[in-house]
Symmetry: C2
Subunit: 336 residues, 2 copies
DNA sequence: TTTATTAACGGAAACGTTTGAAAAACTATG
DNA sequence: CATAGTTTTTCAAACGTTTCCGTTAATAAA
């Protein structure tokens, strides 16, 4: 690899001058700057990221903290999409992405935060299902810039999907279609679940729809099996809902199968509403009525915010940015 | 951050001794070694990855090259799963994962290979749909250890899914069920597509099944729309196939919709076979008969191979490792 | 001409490691 | 007790940058 020294001897100047020229400092004449830049290019020079980081304490590396208790990891479409846009935006600004986790190094166990220190990441984005993990708190309380996705901590910037309003929009649609007997299979307790439930209640009150606690079973996100069971249970009694909200689109498949297995059909006998707007939901027949979270914006915003935090360290101001999604009208809700 | 120097002054020895003690060199007495390791732990020491890399030219970072012309990126379930297991295995060995792409740095465009040099990754795994990209060749011809997934280059280690045998198994199953009029909507031309087609032909010959060229349309992977069109076309004529092989499970959804839209049903009127064994395929009703690629093994094997290549540089021996998958019998094929 | 000002460049230390060679401290041997 | 051998420790250079400060040269002002 060609280094600054190589360029300096070739051009008969000092390495200091080369460094300054290439980094656009002002105390180098235009003529030599041009000459140095040119030969650097000719010689195929690229800075050595490690050496630079060692001096500047800036790695241009962002850590992605990604705990997923379900072990689905990147298979989780929401996270995969968010990560994808995060990555794209970060790369545009010259940052690379490294996965961070707790791991062993040199025989000693390293926490996620220690891992970040070891790799000297400039910033961390946290996206996970379990924000109560100790590793998360350690990072939150640390001194590395952090942006969280879909969870709000005091004094930390957060980018959250507008779960409350998304839920409201969906319920309003169901109400518009004439549904009043509405069930909601909730996701597992979490900040996201709270928000969605809040939106559900709020809209129900607004539309004068009675909320029945027995129609609010707690299931789990991305779990078609549990959703299958709960859907069957909901439809077993004599007084059954006409419309069921699912934890998310993926889990909804379990619900659809339950309905099919009961000899019923969607939307004729029972209406179904999902959440997420994943690709499959729009390939189902009938298309699932759902709410598409704006993953491209969520990821890109998180990246922008994180980079801004890194590059303007004085900014003690932390934001909570709410990203709206889009209602997707499918054919899974019957108009009564 | 506490450094080697901090430990050395605290213990009254030189930094060299500390370094050697912590790295388990033999030329340091057991007594001092134990003492140094203990205080290092007490002081919360972690090595500085940059400094170490600068000296040793080893970053313990693996680059993931991941070109996806379709722009689906991590949303692609096969790749997401492979990457997931790759990451897990690599982390076990103390390596981190960094995404590598072509990008701009300091105004100059950097190729993927240059990017790898810049970040000094110890090795690269290539997984992508388009292995003809110039960026791929540059990496293949470079001097960094490389493992490719699902594509074979001379002189480079490759981990490939057993596409040929997978296809054979599927066709044998269809034949066992009594099907003789079999169509295959191919994926776009690629090494993978070739292998699958080869397996298809081979099994057809074995079973004495006539291969009709008009029943071998070329579609595209992960593209339900094209698959929808081609499926309709296949089922329009007067002489139609009784069983259709889809490019993959995801694309198969397009086929299923086409069949539904024609007023037909699976498997009564037409049988369907997928490829990949993605989660959804097993949630469909009826479950899709398909071939599940062993993504956990593929990813883990790739990681192991790459790390072995890195840690035993003398090994000029390159392997091609074929990973078998598993046949999944669903309910989408009718027994005639 | 002298002095002050500015512009362009170089010297050198520093970042935190690793590592081979040299030195020092022991141990054993005759 | 000297010598050789062995074990343990330190020295010092090196990896490729960045950056503060000093130096030189050129220009402007007095």
């Amino acid at each position: 690899m060609v280094s600054l020294k190589d360029i300096s001897v070739r051009c008969g100047v000092s390495v200091a001058t080369v460094s300054k020229a290439l980094n656009g400092h002002k105390d180098v004449s235009e003529a030599t700057r041009e000459r140095l830049v040119r030969t650097a290019r000719e010689m195929g020079y690229f800075p050595n990221a490690q050496a630079r980081a060692l001096k500047t304490n800036r790695t241009y590396n962002l850590g992605v903290m990604f705990l997923d208790e379900a072990g689905r990891g990147l298979t989780h479409e929401f996270f995969a999409k968010v990560l994808n846009s995060f990555k794209t935006e970060a790369e545009l600004a010259g940052y690379d992405i490294t996965f961070i986790s707790n791991k062993d190094i040199g025989g000693r166990r390293m926490s996620t935060y220690e891992h970040c220190k070891y790799r000297s990441v400039d910033g961390i984005v946290i996206a996970c299902t379990d924000f109560t993990a100790p590793d998360v708190f350690e990072v939150i309380n640390g001194d590395i810039p952090v942006v969280t996705i879909d969870h709000i901590f005091d004094c930390r910037t957060a980018v959250v999907s507008n779960n409350e309003s998304g839920m409201e929009k969906l319920l309003n649609y169901a109400a518009d279609c004439g549904h009043t007997k509405i069930a909601y299979i909730q996701g597992k307790r979490s900040a996201v679940a709270e928000k969605r439930l809040a939106g559900f209640y709020k809209a129900c009150v607004n539309r004068g729809i009675e909320v029945r606690s027995e129609w609010l079973p707690v299931g789990d996100y991305c779990n078609p099996d549990i959703t299958y069971q709960l859907t069957k249970k909901l439809l077993k009694g004599k007084d059954v809902p006409t419309c069921i909200f699912m934890p998310d689109d993926y889990a909804a498949i379990g619900g659809l199968n339950a309905i099919k297995d009961l000899g019923l059909s969607v939307p004729e006998d029972v209406s179904i509403i999902g959440y997420d707007g994943i690709a499959y939901s729009q390939l189902l027949n009938p298309r699932l009525t759902t709410y598409s979270q704006d993953t491209p914006v969520i990821g890109a915003t998180a990246a922008k915010q994180l980079i801004s935090l890194i590059e303007n360290p004085q900014t003690t101001f932390t934001e909570v940015i709410t990203v709206d999604g889009q209602f997707l009208e499918g054919g899974s809700v019957k108009k009564l």
